[in-house]
């Protein structure tokens, strides 16, 4: 019985750490998709952020500069995506996937000398009182600055989407390029901005992984989190607040798997490694009907294969 509680408590504590990087990427992909584009290069953007954020931190000694470099790297890669799909009219899914491959290659090459480097990175900051709450206090409120920023970003993005002129323009473009254009907006510009912003957030997610969560860089360290983020956007039905729930669910699955491994559960660690992804897939499968109505019209042709 006590093992059970230790495992569950551990899973909860573990939910926040690995969930945050995915959450950033989910926010980024969400903004991109709300503008009517789907960027499978998110994984590549996360790797770019993780790698170049780490390199910048090693070279300058400043984690702040590292974070900025990560956002820049992520948005650069996503701008290539924006150029290709918006101005060269390439296939979104193929382009995104190719850029993920490209990002993986670039970071493996650029980061090869930094694999053994050590950094201070970003360290936890305890929030007085809140971090004293039993069971959840430490998990939620003894974390690095990027975790707190991620908490705030969900409601902020929600407000931005629904209560600002920019948010309305963005959603209008995602629903109907024709109407948005008739309303005097510049759909291409709005999509480029959304994609670049999305790339920057994905890069930030990567930086959270390498600068705050592991404090190391290793090749391909995001192991598919960028793709999970694409799934979580659908899971969250394009709402930033619901996306937070999804990201923590995924993080919790990783935390649970780590706990099960550490208490020596009699299951192959490879099976346990699959666990978070299986949970995410299962939830997506159950969800997809409800998500269909919430889907921005502009994505329908891509996700549905045309109607």
């Amino acid at each position: 019985m006590s093992t059970f509680w230790i495992v569950l408590g551990g899973a909860f504590t573990g939910a926040v750490g690995p969930g945050i990087s995915v959450l950033y990427a989910t926010y980024g992909e969400l903004i991109t998709e709300r503008a009517g584009r789907i960027n499978l290069g998110t994984e590549g953007c996360m790797l770019m952020g993780a790698c170049f954020g780490f390199i910048a931190t090693v070279e300058t000694g400043s984690a702040t500069l590292g974070v900025l470099a990560a956002m820049l790297a992520g948005s650069m890669l996503s701008l290539i995506f924006a150029y290709l799909v918006i101005f060269r009219d390439t296939n979104q899914l193929a382009t995104g996937f190719a850029l993920t491959m490209f990002g993986a290659g670039v970071t493996a090459w650029a980061g090869r000398d930094y694999v053994d480097s050590l950094i201070g990175g970003l360290n936890p900051i305890s929030i007085p009182l809140l971090s004293q709450i039993p069971l959840v206090g430490k998990a939620l409120f003894r974390q690095d600055i990027l975790v707190y920023l991620a908490y705030a970003l969900g409601p902020l993005l929600w407000f931005g989407l629904y209560y600002t002129k920019w948010g309305l323009s963005l959603r209008a473009v995602g629903e109907s390029v024709t109407v948005a254009f008739a309303a005097g907006r510049n759909p291409a510009l709005i999509q480029v901005a959304a994609i670049a912003f999305g790339g920057a957030l994905s890069g930030l997610g990567g930086a959270q992984l390498s600068l705050a969560f592991t404090h190391t860089w290793s090749e391909g360290m995001t192991v598919g989190r960028g793709f999970i983020a694409v799934g979580l956007v659908i899971f969250g039905m394009w709402s930033p607040v619901r996306a937070m729930a999804g990201a923590f669910l995924f993080g919790g699955a990783i935390g649970l798997q780590l706990q099960l491994q550490s208490v020596g559960a009699p299951v192959s660690p490879f099976i346990l490694d699959m666990f978070p992804y299986v949970i995410t897939l299962a939830v997506l499968a159950l969800w997809s009907g409800a998500a269909s109505r919430a889907m921005p019209e502009g994505l329908r042709t891509v996700l549905r294969g045309g109607t």
Partner: protein, 552 residues
């Protein structure tokens, strides 16, 4: 209002400024309030002395092979409803697109309130104060009414003040009796309601010239009267209403002045008072009035039973508004069954289920007394079922193929010469001999269908489906896009088909056509058949109410 009117005269800039900003949340200034020279009320019509809101001189626009607008002059004044009347293809739509900045005229001058101007884009047109209610609206279904309106507001600062915009919508809505719920999701509204949203949007975006492109085509009869009352209100407030239509009755009912277009030219501009239907028809067509073919012969049902019968056919769950919800009906050989209803109430599903394009959830379909529920599309076609679909270009034609190829599309095997080559000569012979007996003239047989106009595409489909005298015909909007004479010929063809024993299901949005042709008439609403009538004993009003969901 009076208070504001006076203030606007004293300091003209102030009111128009406050209409920009939501924070001010004043009711939107109407043209009568912002521009002093216009008179309110019925006298505003007088055309001498006042300056037109919009005036066109010598507008020409040609497309390859067509002179769509030929030297058009038009003046629209604040405080009048000005109807532009013309057949399909008379140049109305081209003219409107020029006004709205979608097309640029080849020559001619447009002046807005006396100042010569070029309307380079829809956005530029709207900034001037020209707003257009299109047939298919520029509204985003997934957004709420507030959001759709906000998208087109000239300026409302950084933040979206939902409450202030909702209040503005409410004010305009109350003023013109529109009954709009600002919080509703636009996609959940009926077409008539969306039209009202579109209108509110334009008013709040401070349009002064309101262009309505065939506004009544999406409305039921009693909604049409409501729209015309709104026209009167708009007129009283000094708006210029430009009303484009081909429906003479509506023009007579509502227009202060009427401009008739024919073949791209203005043939007449006349006051609405004193105009007669006969005269307008003659002007519009350039000939005497054609006799409307009437279906005088009521057929007795023959004893062999129904050609097509639907028994309790469902294609959707109860709570899903699209699809069929337990539809039962039958058509006898030698009968035309008219189906009235606003498009999107399950009419399309009828044909798709009959042909096997769409699966049923339950219920069965009988063809000449045999259960045909599970049969393949090919076997239905072989059994003599013909189909003129709603979406002709998407479902009945291959746009990149020639007219000739499209005509024989269903029976290409016949011309498979040895299984590999297509016997083009034989094909041409067959087509020629069929067409020689067919009264409609088609475009040259080697033209690709994608290059044809809507009316010409419709003729090709009609030729293919009617020439073989089908036993069962599902016809959707068969006369859509056709000129008046061709439409009459087509109606004659349908009746000929009926007289040869064909069973016809006729879906049309033109109630007059349905009344003229049908032996029996049913009304569809939300996937159900809600009423059955003999055309002689039914009234337009009654059917219009049923079409929009009112129970008797």
């Amino acid at each position: 209002m009076i208070h504001k009117l006076m203030r606007s005269k004293a300091e003209p800039g102030v009111v128009s400024e406050s209409a920009h900003t939501v924070a001010g949340a004043e009711s939107p200034a109407t043209p009568a309030e912002t521009s002093a020279p216009h008179k309110n009320g019925a006298t505003a019509i007088s055309t001498n002395g006042t300056q037109p809101s919009l005036s066109l001189r010598g507008i020409c626009k040609s497309f390859p092979g067509v002179l769509a607008n030929d030297n058009i002059d038009l003046d629209v004044f604040g405080g009048e409803v000005h109807a532009v009347l013309g057949e399909n293809g008379a140049g109305k739509t081209t003219l409107m697109k020029i006004l709205y900045g979608v097309y640029q005229p080849d020559s001619g001058v447009i002046a807005f309130k006396g100042r010569e101007t070029r309307i380079q884009s829809p956005n530029a047109g709207r900034r001037l104060g020209i707003g257009m209610v299109f047939q298919n609206f520029s509204l985003i279904p997934a957004l709420t009414v507030v959001e759709n309106v906000a998208l087109f507001l000239p300026s409302y600062g950084m933040f979206l003040s939902r409450r202030a915009i909702a209040r503005q919508i409410q004010e305009v809505s109350d003023k013109y009796g529109l009954q709009i719920d600002p919080k509703a999701r636009t996609g959940d509204l009926s077409l008539g309601e969306r039209q009202k949203v579109e209108l509110v949007k334009l008013i709040l975006a401070r349009a002064e010239v309101l262009i309505f492109d065939e506004p009544t085509s999406v409305l039921a009869p009693h909604e049409v009267d409501g729209l015309f009352r709104v026209f009167d209100e708009l007129k009283r407030d000094g708006y210029a209403v430009l009303f484009i239509t081909h429906k003479i009755q509506e023009v007579l009912q509502t227009a202060d002045r009427i401009t008739v277009l024919r073949h791209g030219k203005v043939v007449e501009c006349t006051p609405g008072e004193g105009a007669t239907a006969d005269h307008l028809v003659a002007m519009m067509l350039g000939i005497g009035v054609p006799e409307v073919v009437r279906n005088t012969q009521m057929r007795q049902h023959s004893a062999n039973g129904a050609a097509v019968e639907f028994r309790d056919v469902w294609t959707a769950e109860k709570n899903d508004p699209r699809g069929l919800h337990g539809v039962s009906f039958h058509v006898m050989p030698g009968e035309i069954l008219g189906i009235a209803g606003i498009s999107g109430n399950g009419q399309q599903q009828l044909g798709e289920v009959l042909l096997g394009l769409q699966r049923r959830r339950s219920g069965s379909v009988y063809l000449f007394g045999e259960d045909a529920s599970g049969r393949s599309i090919a076997s239905m076609l072989d059994a003599g079922v013909a189909y003129i679909p709603e979406d002709v270009l998407g479902m009945a034609m291959v746009p990149t193929m020639k007219v000739e190829e499209n005509l024989v599309l269903g029976e290409l095997q016949k011309y498979g010469n040895g299984g590999i080559w297509l016997d083009r000569k034989g094909m041409r012979r067959q087509v020629d001999s069929t067409l020689s007996r067919f009264p409609l003239k088609l475009a040259p047989l080697d033209t690709r269908v994608e290059h044809l106009s809507g009316g010409n595409i419709q003729r090709v489909v009609l030729a293919r489906e009617l020439a073989m005298s089908p036993k069962v015909l599902m016809a959707y909007y068969p006369t859509r896009g056709l000129d008046v004479l061709t439409a009459e010929t087509t109606r004659g063809l349908l009746m000929e088909c009926r007289d040869n024993g064909g069973a016809i299901v006729l879906v049309s949005e033109d109630l007059e056509e349905l009344f003229a042709l049908s032996d029996r008439l049913v009304v569809m609403y939300q996937g159900n058949i809600v009423g059955e009538f003999q055309p002689e004993s039914a009234s337009l009003h009654e059917i219009g109410l049923l079409m929009t969901g009112h129970h008797m």
